[in-house]
């Protein structure tokens, strides 16, 4: 493969481990205020550590969680186009969170009520999409999955529209925030939840990554290698809904991250999951930190919704992937 001529595969991951600290540092130092003010004044220190630091960390964790979700779902449906946002998981999670906000928040079920609702919404959306769009590896099966995702997304946005008519003013602000995506609500509570879910997912899947490789060969092939494909699909649904559900509660729908970073990781190291998952997590984290820098600075002092930035980056990647699939068609 051409991409490995310059850089041997086993050196890619260690080199990429250098990326997150650099990107996080850049994220901390970008934005309003001179560096001397940030570093030397009390107000600057407050902005740096109380406002910007949790936000940059959240950006990284959101990107990492969405990318991990993307890698898992792409593996079990054998479709590199399956982005959690595109196939409706994020939309479903946003519906769950909005329903909770409008109908159940008065019950104050504890801080986990909302992520739980988002998890259920995401899982239901994913199950519907997989029922509709899962058979074989042909181009038809691939496009069917995307069509299924579009229909689930349309339904989700209609339901969110319905919720917004029933919502109080403060709930309405929350709902708008979810549908566009924003990191302005960053806090350590969400950061620790995201971090815990991500670490748990990595530990759980670490020993199952070769099973995902086998699934890429095809369902019959995987089963004849001793893999219970249905069980793997259920596990993936649960973990993807968990990762995406928490991410959506924390920051709303940020599209295409789960498509771009696994794609770049595969271009660099091939499709083996033991290499793709860590790389995609790193790239996804860095991507969202950089996208958030752009969202904060491009129209300063105002702020762009970050979902717009990631979509501007991701849609061309999606189109190029589609073009490539089109060329592969007989």
């Amino acid at each position: 493969m051409g991409s490995t001529a310059l850089l041997r595969r086993q050196h890619i991951l260690p080199l990429c481990l250098l990326l997150p600290p650099l990107v996080v540092l850049a994220g901390l130092l970008t934005g309003g205020g001179e560096w001397s003010w940030l570093l030397n004044s009390d107000a600057g220190q407050t902005v740096l550590w109380q406002v910007r630091f949790p936000r940059v960390v959240m950006a990284f964790l959101i990107g990492a969680a969405l990318s991990a979700g993307g890698v898992l779902i792409q593996g079990v449906v054998r479709n590199p186009l399956a982005d959690p946002g595109l196939i409706g998981v994020s939309g479903g999670a946003a519906v769950g969170a909005a329903v909770y906000l409008v109908f159940a928040s008065s019950l104050s079920l504890s801080m986990w009520g909302q992520p739980l609702a988002a998890f259920i919404g995401g899982a239901v959306a994913l199950l519907v999409v997989m029922q509709l769009g899962l058979r074989g590896a042909s181009i038809h099966a691939m496009s069917f999955l995307i069509l299924a995702g579009i229909s689930v997304n349309v339904l989700a946005s209609a339901l969110i529209g319905l919720m917004s008519y029933m919502a109080t003013d403060s709930a309405l602000r929350q709902i708008t925030f979810w549908s566009l995506g924003s990191l302005s609500g960053a806090n350590w509570r969400w950061n620790s939840a995201l971090f815990a879910a991500l670490v748990a997912a990595i530990i759980f899947w670490r020993t199952r990554l070769r099973t995902l490789d086998a699934l890429l060969l095809g369902e019959v092939e995987a089963r004849s290698m001793g893999i219970s494909v249905v069980r793997m699909q259920w596990l993936a649904v649960l973990w993807v809904a968990l990762l995406v559900g928490i991410a959506v509660c924390a920051s709303g729908v940020i599209g295409f991250v789960g498509l771009i970073s696994p794609h770049v990781a595969r271009l660099m190291t091939g499709a083996t999951h033991t290499r793709v998952l860590p790389l995609a997590i790193i790239f996804g984290g860095c991507l969202v930190v950089l996208a958030d820098m752009a969202a904060r600075t491009l129209v300063a002092p105002a702020e762009l919704p970050i979902g717009i930035v990631t979509t501007l980056l991701g849609a061309p990647v999606f189109i190029s992937l589609l073009l490539r699939e089109k060329r592969r068609m007989p």
Binding site: M1, T4, R78, N79, P80, G136, A137, S138, M142, R210, T211, D213, A214, L216, L217, G218, V220, E221, R223, S224, M225, G226, I227, S228, R266, G270, A271, T272
Partner: protein, 252 residues
């Protein structure tokens, strides 16, 4: 008389009123190379996937080493039976080496042993020069050898006793067909058995220890190549007028 590795009794599968596989019964002895022949749609592939435990029949039974298999989980099947379906397409850039290494997934093999077996598989199937290539960019025959090499690794484990191959030779050139048969013979020499679907009846006449002939879901003949592949029987089942000339089947 050697022991039965596989015993099939009254195996049937119906779909929408039609029998895809109807009352099939036979057994496989240790070290046999069995070739399964029959017209398109005879139920050969369906039978193979049932013998691999991928589809459950609605009547009859499959026993492996005299063990009933109806409650076997997937991994128990994969430990004993290695199945290679017809070639399917892939959407992801795995390398040949990645794919062949997955042959170790069904068993708990040590990393060192697996590495040796993968190396032997790459050489034995003449794909070592392709090891770092993207599988999707290979020709049909190269992809076929890659899948066969992966299953060969699975067959190397001691518990693996039966190799089910669905048209393994269809994409291979003469040299690699020869090589494939040599690899199969090396497996049967270990007392393991191979059941493969072929369309070349002269291939079956020359190389099979035993031939099974299917037609319309039923097992119509089971015996030595000479018995099963007689000109009359082939003419009747395939509905092409055939004749036998110096041990070779021809048609007009």
């Amino acid at each position: 008389m050697s022991a039965s590795l596989l015993t099939v009794e009254g195996l049937s599968l119906h779909r929408g009123g039609a029998a895809l596989v109807n009352q099939v019964a036979f057994d496989v002895k240790a070290g046999e190379l069995i070739m399964l022949v029959g017209p398109n749609g005879a139920g050969k592939s369906t039978l193979l996937s049932m013998l691999a435990g991928l589809q459950r029949g609605d009547a009859g039974s499959v026993a492996v080493l005299q063990h009933a298999t109806h409650a076997w989980p997937r991994n128990a099947w994969a430990e004993h039976v290695t199945f290679v379906p017809q070639l399917s397409s892939m959407n992801f850039p795995l390398t040949v080496h990645d794919v062949v290494s997955l042959g170790g997934l069904a068993h708990s093999t040590s990393i060192v042993t697996l590495r040796q077996q993968v190396k032997a598989a790459l050489q034995g199937w003449d794909i070592d020069y392709l090891a770092q290539h993207d599988v999707r960019r290979l020709s049909g025959g190269e992809q076929q050898r890659c899948q066969l090499a992966r299953s060969w690794v699975q067959m190397q484990q001691a518990q693996s006793i039966l190799w089910l191959l669905d048209e393994p030779l269809s994409a291979l050139d003469l040299r690699h067909q020869h090589q494939c048969l040599q690899q199969i013979r090396a497996i049967t020499a270990q007392g393991k058995s191979v059941l493969m679907v072929v369309h070349d009846l002269n291939m079956a006449r020359q190389h099979a220890d035993r031939v099974l002939m299917m037609c319309c879901g039923e097992l119509v003949a089971d015996g030595s190549a000479e018995q099963v592949l007689s000109a009359e029987q082939v003419s009747r089942v395939f509905q092409v007028e055939t004749y036998l000339d110096h041990g070779w089947l021809g048609w007009r």
